[in-house]
Symmetry: C2
Subunit: 218 residues, 2 copies
């Protein structure tokens, strides 16, 4: 056991003390700068201030490190979504929209994690717990969808799984097209947040879940 909070790369002698963490932080930095493809094992070692052989004490190879980053990303993602949902408070519909905002927020504020999770092509099997972590994140949205569905009369309830897949896909689509660092690929008439919120509202209205008519009354 050791001081687990050796802030950013400062060596304490021969032993690094927290190389595993330092490598992960380095990976995040590098992915943030050059994308998941541009990240190399050697670079991460250099950034952590160790020799290029050192990382092998902690990760089988580059992919193992990436998979670990992705897993952690999903864990943080789950926490963020769960906090946004807040058990459906103050009110399911509003809480549902909060999930959407949290989704985009995460993509924007943690582009490196997001890239490792969704764009690095990491196989979900490459790390024990990665698939589980990804499933956990999705489960938040699924649970929220179920809560919303339960508000409808029993004979007009859409499948909650389908609903959560739709919202998940729409959120990811908006995030990856419009809320990433390489954004500006297309300039929008509104923010990504507004776009997602509007989309989810229209969708929910289509399910009979959100009030209002089509017009401007909001």
């Amino acid at each position: 056991m050791r001081w687990s909070d050796d802030s950013s790369g400062g060596r304490r002698g021969y032993h690094h003390g927290n190389l595993r963490e330092a490598l992960i932080r380095a990976a995040l930095d590098l992915i943030g700068q050059k994308g998941p493809a541009g990240f190399t094992f050697a670079d991460a070692a250099r950034m952590a201030g160790v020799s290029s052989a050192a990382p092998y004490r902690h990760f089988r190879d580059r992919d193992a490190l990436l998979a670990d980053v992705a897993r952690r990303g999903f864990e943080l993602f789950t926490t963020a979504l769960d906090r946004a949902w807040n058990d459906g408070r103050p009110e399911p519909l509003r809480a549902f929209e909060n999930i959407g905002r949290a989704f985009l927020d995460f993509a924007r504020k943690e582009p490196a994690y997001y890239a490792a999770m969704f764009e690095a092509g990491v196989a979900l099997e490459s790390d024990p717990g990665l698939r589980q972590a990804a499933d956990d994140a999705f489960a938040v949205l699924r649970k929220a969808s179920e809560t919303l569905c339960a508000l409808l009369p029993r004979d007009s309830r859409p499948p909650a799984l389908m609903m959560s897949l739709h919202v998940w896909a729409l959120s990811h689509g908006i995030a990856s097209l419009f809320a990433r660092p390489d954004a500006g690929r297309r300039k929008l008439p509104m923010s990504a947040d507004e776009l997602l919120e509007a989309g989810v509202l229209v969708y929910l209205r289509g399910l009979g879940l959100a009030g209002g008519t089509t017009g401007g009354s909001r």
Copy 2:
């Protein structure tokens, strides 16, 4: 001028005759096999059967080749979407759904193009005409959205641009999560096509555009 249809790499002597095309085909092959990150200039040259210096006669560098692939991808994409829309025939709503199917179809059948277009991180400025080609593809969806919007009474028309962005994002989200070679990341209770069609229907209903109530009547 020369026989432009020298099928797949067969040299005809000292001059290749169609190296530019052969390199693009090689790039598509390689991207299809190993993803856009795994594609290298040298590999493309090898696959086309020329020395590693030859590609420089046709492309400034690797990125220029990728950008060209992306541009061509968008051109094919535009054609596919436009054909699916078919000027709104036989009936706008059905034609609109055909666009969605064509979108996923393209992602599935041309994963290499799709990756170059949406996942390779190619800057839209890196090729003259790339941005235009991307805009043209989007314009098909936009035009279709406008046609649908025009079916609504003037005072309850949603902005067509917003509508097309929603459908574009949903389509891309579903394509990139569920309709790619690396799919199986999550197994679905329905096909990607059905998922997208259902999503678009719910969305359109939310706009007041598609008939039916929420229940199972379809």
